[in-house]
């Protein structure tokens, strides 16, 4: 099958959705500029015109609110926030408005908006160009949150997000943009709320989100070399998350490690750990381990960054620890 990069897969989903549905439009900061978006939106303005591909001022509140108002009145906007940190300026439209309106108005109003946020860390960018605050949004009833880790899912989850009737946060990670994988040319959907088993195994369940799923694939190889058979689950959606798949895997292995490249306290790993401990405690043979970021803002110095970020190495240690 044809191979595409993660960023190109995102671009293809946008192009096909814009071509297929006149209600779809794109708005946000830097949609014309590769400095913001890599190749993930390249030349969409040339292909579909600047009426539908709108490069906006640095007005997170107004652009987010406008995308929501357009969604309520019949459009299918895709909103682009090139940095998740900056998106926090739009916390009101996302958390108070988009998330609430269906419930508040008893289903008479819906908000079918896709809010795309890019995690763009590393490179000595520091605390306000690096944050991964997916848990904040997964906490809020009314929002769905997806985090694709592969080019295939990057395309299919964007399609599902645009076609969903609810506000969906689509969070992609800049560290994945150049990774390649098989991507069908036709439009297809990856269902929201469904995780994927990347490797079957008997000894330990490793659940990973987004970029950590690609790191986990490396960890699993190292562990296989040491005779440890890991079942790797790429969570793909963090709200709702695939309880059934995680529970059935833990039911088989009895051991669980969760990797999420975000702060450890109150994060998605904590939510999964609490759910597993509360619902299938009897299945566990060992304490649950988490591989997350320390509870500190991201530093700038490369030396400190190296110490701050976690990856395959920490996952290997965590898996070995739960097997002791």
């Amino acid at each position: 099958m044809r191979r595409l990069s993660y960023a190109r897969a995102i671009r293809e989903a946008h192009a096909q959705l814009l071509a297929q549905d006149p209600r779809v439009f794109l708005i946000g900061q830097g949609v014309r500029n590769p400095w913001y978006a890599g190749t993930s939106l390249q030349d969409l303005d040339k292909e579909f015109g600047r009426e539908r591909v709108i490069d906006s001022p640095v007005s997170e509140n107004a652009t987010t609110g406008a995308a929501i108002g357009a969604a309520i009145t019949g459009m299918r906007p895709i909103l682009f926030h090139p940095r998740m940190d900056f998106m926090l300026l739009a916390a009101d439209p996302i958390m108070n408005q988009a998330a609430n309106w269906s419930y508040l108005f008893a289903g008479q109003v819906s908000v079918p908006v896709v809010i795309r946020a890019v995690i763009n860390r590393g490179g000595e960018q520091g605390a306000q160009h690096s944050q991964a605050v997916q848990a904040l949004f997964a906490h809020v009833p009314g929002l769905k949150v997806v985090m694709p880790a592969t080019p295939y899912d990057a395309k299919g989850l964007l399609v599902s997000a645009v076609r969903d009737g609810n506000p969906v946060l689509y969070i992609d990670d800049r560290w994945l943009y150049e990774s390649e994988g098989e991507v069908p040319e036709a439009l297809y959907e990856v269902p929201i709320g469904s995780a994927a088993v990347r490797r079957s195994g008997r000894n330990v369940t490793l659940v990973a989100t987004s970029y950590m799923a690609s790191e986990a694939a490396k960890a699993v190889e190292v562990l296989a070399g040491r005779g440890i058979d890991v079942e790797l689950i790429d969570l793909r959606s963090i709200k709702p998350w695939d309880r059934n798949l995680v529970y059935s895997s833990v039911g088989k292995t009895g051991r669980l490690v969760i990797a999420d490249a975000a702060w450890v306290s109150g994060g998605i790993a904590a939510e999964i750990a609490a759910s597993v401990a509360g619902d299938i405690f009897h299945a566990l043979k060992a304490p649950i381990a988490r591989v997350c970021l320390p509870d500190a803002p991201a530093p700038t110095s490369a030396v400190l960054e190296q110490a701050y970020y976690v990856g395959a190495e920490e996952m290997v240690s965590a898996v070995e620890k739960v097997l002791l």
């Binding site: 609110g65 357009a70 408005q97 508040l104 009314g142």
Partner: protein
């Protein structure tokens, strides 16, 4: 019918709408006082000319976006009185089926997509409705109603810029009642110049006597025509005064330095009395006023009875509609 008869007919309809809003809100105030209504109710008594005048310039498919003080907006745009009253009573027959109360009103069939109390929150949503109209080519206009307090928020300024930049069919209606909860305008800004935000952000702007319903209607008409013709958004700063306190029926006489004096002055500029005076000069009889007003009172009492007799929501519905189940495509 000649033009002045036509104008007289409009003015009579606007007078009736203003009376409806006032009678409804006075009744809500009484029901709050006796403890029959519990949800926080923000009354717009004294400000009725603005919703009545603006909404008279709109088409049914134009959209309306409001805030916490939006009973008048809802009624003037064609919202259902019984459904609003039942909502305020927290009943299953309410316009939001008991999930909204006074501060969250909705009637999508009338273009009322929502009123919510987070200050300024619906201003960018109205911009989005304008963008939607422009992209679909429907010539629908969207109207955001908000108070002077909302102009202290970044939402307001960002939204004005976006609407002007993309020449969107949006009408920003600031009901400047000179108070943001307990703070007077001069305690919040150096200059009394909200209307100047229009020029600053590149859109049309006009300061209007918000207690003159025909002046409001005329300014709104021009703004709506401009928007529909593709000539961009307008900010109307409608000067008015809140007769009651921020929330509930009390007058909040303790706020501001000059609240009592201001209140006396502004009561002399009662939009309903001014309109009635003009209609009387045009020959409308006292009997006619009385019979119209009696009909309004009956309508309001009927809505109160409907709300009282309606069932409460079933608690089995608690978790319904957190998400919509229907798909987009």
């Amino acid at each position: 019918m000649n033009a002045s008869d036509d104008r007289g007919t409009i003015e009579q309809a606007l007078w009736r709408m203003m009376v409806l809003i006032r009678v409804v809100e006075e009744r809500i105030g009484e029901l709050v006082s006796v403890g029959e209504i519990h949800t926080p109710c923000h009354l717009s008594i004294g400000q009725e000319a603005i919703p009545a005048g603006v909404c008279a310039a709109l088409r049914p498919d134009d959209s309306l976006w409001g805030g916490h003080r939006s009973h008048g907006h809802y009624l003037a745009k064609g919202g259902n009185l019984r459904a609003m009253m039942a909502e305020i009573f927290g009943k299953a027959t309410g316009c939001a089926r008991g999930r909204g109360g006074s501060m969250h009103l909705v009637d999508p069939a009338q273009g009322i997509f929502g009123t919510v109390p987070l200050v300024a929150a619906t201003i960018p949503l109205a911009v989005g409705a304008g963008l939607s109209s422009k992209l679909r080519g429907t010539q629908q206009v969207s109207v955001a109603f908000f108070g002077d307090g909302a102009t202290d928020e970044g939402h307001f300024h960002e939204s004005l810029t976006l609407a002007a930049l993309y020449q969107l069919p949006v009408l920003f209606v600031c009901e400047n009642n000179l108070y943001s909860t307990h703070l007077t305008l001069k305690e919040r800004r150096v200059k009394d110049n909200i209307v100047e935000s229009a020029d600053l952000h590149g859109l049309s702007g006009e300061r209007v006597d918000g207690n003159d319903v025909m002046a409001v209607q005329s300014a709104a008409q021009q703004a709506v025509q401009r928007a529909r013709a593709g000539n961009g958004p307008t900010l109307l700063e409608c000067r008015t005064y809140r007769w009651r306190g921020h929330v509930g029926p009390a007058a909040d006489l303790e706020v501001g330095e000059d609240r009592r004096r201001e209140l006396d002055e502004w009561r002399q500029r009662d939009p309903i009395a001014r309109c009635r005076e003009r209609l009387r000069a045009q020959g409308l009889s006292s009997e006619r006023f009385e019979s119209l007003e009696a009909a309004v009172r009956d309508e309001v009492e009927e809505a109160v009875s409907f709300a009282r007799q309606s069932p409460a929501p079933d608690d089995s519905e608690l978790l319904h509609h957190v998400y919509v189940s229907r798909r987009g495509v």
